[in-house]
Amino acid sequence: MEKKVGVYICQGCGIGDALDVEALKSVATDEFDVAVCKSHECLCHKPGIELIKNDIKSDGVNVVVIAACSPRVMYDVFDFGSDKIVERVNLREQVVWSHPPQDEDTQMLAEDQLRMGLAKAAEVELPEPFVAEDLSKKILVVGGGLTGMVAAREAARAGYDVVLVEKEPELGGYLRKIYKLPPATPPYEKPEDVKLDEFVSEITSLDKVTVYTNATVASIEGAPCMFDAIIVQGSKEIKERVGAIVLATGAVPYDASKLEHLGFGKYSDVVTIQQVEEMFLSGEVKRPSNGQPVNSVAFILCAGSRDPEHLPYCSSSCCVEVLKQVSYFKENNPDCTVYVFYKDLRATGVYELFYKHLQKQKVFFIKGDVTGIEDDGSGNLVLTAEDNLTRSPIMTEAVDLVVLATGMVPTTAFGEPYKAPTSEEGEEVEEVPPDTILVSNLLNLKYRQGPEIPALKYGFPDSNFICFPYESRRTGIYPAGSVRSPMDYVRAIDDAAGAAMKAIQCVELTSQGKAVHPRAGDTSFPEFFMQRCTQCKRCTEECPFGAINEDEKGNPLPNPTRCRRCGVCMGACPERIISFKNYSVGMIGNMIKVINVPDEYEEKPRILVLACENDAYPALDMAGLRRLQYNPWVRVIPLRCLGSMNIIWIADALSKGIDGILLLGCKYGDDYQCHFIKGSELANVRMSKIKETLDRLVLESERVRVEEVSITDYHKLPKILDEFAEKLEELGPNPYKGF
């Protein structure tokens, strides 16, 4: 498109009082030769907007540069339609609100901000959405238990075709093995019927749901809206093209044979909660050892869970499962003696009412650790425990049955760790933190990075984000139910519907060429200039979402519909061949190039700040809102993610005479806050490369610094920025100034 740039400088909110607007205008007209440059006393009001609209209409302005407030505000009034490029230059929050008015250095800052905006506007092109062919909006649900069935039903009810794959001969999963469900309706005092047959026939009768039982997923290749799954059913191979996937393969009980210290395997009357369900389901409530009725029972909670030797986490549902089984026994025989040994009785929410109800019956709840289980000589079992409440050792009466509340292990926690192909010998290797991917044979993805979804701790492929619990590391694949996190039935039902919603949203956005979360709706995507690719594999290895496969020669094979548009690949590429239409190495490079760097003797240092646009950039705005002041040497460029930082920018900036570079990104490590998982971490990894650049230029390594900044750290920012400026002053000016 032939660009015609219009620059509009707002004088409101103190901008006009603090800055020399005429001088600013001459930057645009003299240095950048823009077609139109106007100022207005209050650009966001109707007359201001009309002024711009008029220029668009009569003068053909199609690139609108607004030099006013932060792009985070007045986003709606400065929207001139999707065929116009709008670039916002932040003169309010980050210039006049955070620096003294009528000051030479504030003016220079404003002028540089405008230069950077103009340089960017010159490079930006309107993105054209990626439109693929033969798109599918079908949803594949892997696992036909409670979660899978609910996901399938809910997606179908919204009008989407569903393929449901279950490895067992019948649908139902764990529900098939249980007698009753915990209470879910008021007054929350009685276990409820499972009604599995009704549920299964409802699923199988839905026209939109195709069910494959006795079936597994042999492989999945492709990307959202273009996943090609091969489903194996006996000797049959079925091919299905699907748009998105819900992983609902559930969890399995912790292997009780590892709980020998609790008598499992040693005494046949020590059973698991699963065995109790079977007893009641079959109506054979008897002691396994002698077939006699059960008149006394002891439950041991956290059998395996909350135990660093076994499962360090809490399995969430066992407390309530045990309460449910206590009520089975009490209903079966009101005189049955029941002991429950617990650490904490975790009956949250309305389950508390169920717990209270049972406390009124004759049940002994004992907070304590079971220390031993012995046969009393007559075949009955005696438990000894340390009672935490009385601090005394206690011994139960002999009981007929001991039940272990074994925890749950996600089906993703099995299998050997996958090892991605590594770079060949002799090649440079950066230490990219590896992902945990176990070959658990559930999805069998044909992804370069491994066949399953990367797991968080303990094998759960859960999201690390509290606000975005469905953000898995593989676009278009949403884990739900107990595979994602230990949870009870009620929560799994919600989770299933939520994951189905995310799958639907994914196919809807993808089919329009739009990104999914967190840049939902973004139509830009990375393009690769393959002629210059050196097959270094940086992009394929660093993409946090596994979006890029590679061919046998090591060439990247991008999958745009898997892409989350963070730009990590762009930052990783040493050849700089990866660009978005509206975000590229060249674009940021040009923004750096136009920064005016005064000579050494002028004592006006320059600091380039590359800031994460989600967190650090808004924090800078907030510092402005609070009128916190910091040095005027900083020149801020927002990045989609700090991981999109290409080290050429550092080299460009330093060789131009910029004194220091501050990278403001999100927290990384176990509790990472980076919305693109690894972006800030990767930026940090690249610091080793930056050191090489600095060494080559014979510059001090302190000239480049990374700081973790969260969105609410704005009160800390002035200190961070000023301390860095002081450090640079100590180092003295960058000797490349003036070259």
Binding site: C42, D344, G349, R391, C467, P469, A497, T712
Partner: protein
């Protein structure tokens, strides 16, 4: 997909659940209206300092959700608004909404000139009344929409005129009136959230009389860098650092006389707030009085992390009485169920882990939605197109609210598809 003519849904409540439901539905192609009674979106989480277990700021995720709203033309929202009437049936509801006057129009640039001109102060609702704000104020630093609000109490005064003339942009409209309008939607998501249980009802804890007894939601404000003390955890009666702090669990919850249910989140909230104190003062002493520590799933790791700090102790026992002593400290009396002793310990500050009351228990929706006796809305089936989401349904944490809201968005989508 059925081609529907009206694919609109209404989300009542612009907190975490409502926002999530709205953006999730809009990103799947629905037209969404959000009706929020406060002058800003974000709800209760906006007033939190950090989330457990990551100890990350809620505004990080809110910023993303606000951006999703800003960039999605399918979402419209109304603040200072409430639903006054609903009629119709699933697939076709007419909803009457009342928008209360903000007295500040869309010309506001948040430049702050009005605030400089104002002299009257009012109790700051954002900080639970711990401090005050000017009668014209920006609800909070990250307020979305980023626009001032005038408190109705100054309407008709000279000061109001002064404020009005201080605005260079003609953004103050003192004649603004409540406005009512109708929306036609296929489904309604009810996500009006929760309120902290009124701690004054627990007489023996002295809340409301003893300034050094505060609630957990107030603790969030004290610990927030944008809170009344700029993040300093203090003893309110003296303003001195509060280094010895007690957390009293189940303040109202699991109690037949107050809330019979467990509020689900308070254990983790107190563990989290313990880290605020520990981080701030090296010589901190924190004690948590509890019945059971309910840290489900991987939250167990967080519990273990807090437990490992030698400055934290736990007493299994429900606090029986909290009272101010002559030394100016606050004494917590409890029966330690492990030792059997009656413990009496003095603290600088006592934080009551007050439970969650569903807003629907206090503020009844204008139509009948099935609820249990505590006011929690029950899951509705397709016969009722009003879908509960988040804490109006169950006392849960943020991640569970988002999960539930996403599920509710699908239920609403189904109703739009059915039309």
């Amino acid at each position: 997909m059925t081609e529907a003519t009206n694919r609109s849904i209404l989300v009542v409540g612009g907190g975490m659940s409502g926002l999530s439901a709205a953006v999730e539905a809009a990103e799947a192609g629905c037209h969404v209206y959000i009706v929020e009674k406060e002058p800003y979106l974000g709800g209760r989480v906006a007033r939190m300092n950090k989330y457990f277990p990551k100890l990350c700021p809620p505004y990080c995720g809110l910023e993303i959700n606000f951006r999703r709203i800003k960039t999605n033309p399918l979402i419209r929202f109304f603040t200072l608004s409430e639903v006054v009437a609903i009629s119709g049936e699933p697939g076709n509801y007419t909803v009457r909404v009342r928008e209360n006057p903000r007295y500040v129009n869309e010309k506001c640039t948040a430049c702050g000139k009005c605030e400089e001109a104002a002299t009257t102060t009012i109790s700051n609702p954002f900080n639970y009344g711990i401090d005050t704000v000017k009668a014209i104020y920006l609800p909070n630093d990250f307020a979305f929409p980023f626009r001032y609000v005038l408190d109705p109490s100054v309407i008709g005064t000279e000061e109001a005129e002064k404020i009005k003339s201080a605005c260079p942009y003609g953004a103050i409209d003192l004649d603004m009136q409540p406005r009512e309008f109708e929306l036609v939607v296929s489904a309604i998501i009810w996500a009006t959230g929760w309120q902290p249980y009124d701690a004054e009802k627990i007489l023996y804890y002295g809340f409301g009389k003893n300034p050094d007894v505060i609630t957990n939601v107030m603790m969030e404000r004290y610990a927030s860098p944008d809170g009344p003390t700029a993040g300093q955890i203090i003893q309110p009666s003296t303003g001195q650092p509060a280094k010895k702090v007690a957390f009293v669990q189940c303040a109202g919850s699991r109690d037949e006389n107050h809330l019979p249910y467990c509020s689900g989140v308070c254990c983790l909230a107190s563990l989290k707030q313990a880290t605020y104190v520990l981080e701030q003062y090296e010589d901190a002493q924190v004690c948590i009085y509890y019945i059971d520590i309910r840290a489900l799933g991987r939250y167990e790791d967080f519990y273990n992390r807090v437990k490992e700090d030698s400055r934290v102790s736990f007493i299994k026992g429900k606090a029986g009485e909290i009272r101010r002593t002559e030394s100016g400290k606050t004494m917590v009396q409890a029966e330690n169920q492990i030792t059997g002793e009656i413990t009496r310990e003095e603290y600088d500050l006592v934080v009551l882990a007050t439970g969650m009351v569903p807003t629907t228990a206090v503020d009844k929706p204008p139509v009948d939605i099935p609820a249990d006796e505590n006011g929690f809305l029950l899951e509705t089936n397709g016969n009722i197109g009003i879908i509960p989401a988040g804490c109006v349904k169950r006392p849960v944490d943020v991640a569970a609210c988002v999960q539930d809201a996403t599920a509710a968005a699908l239920k609403a989508l189904q109703l739009t598809a059915r039309r």
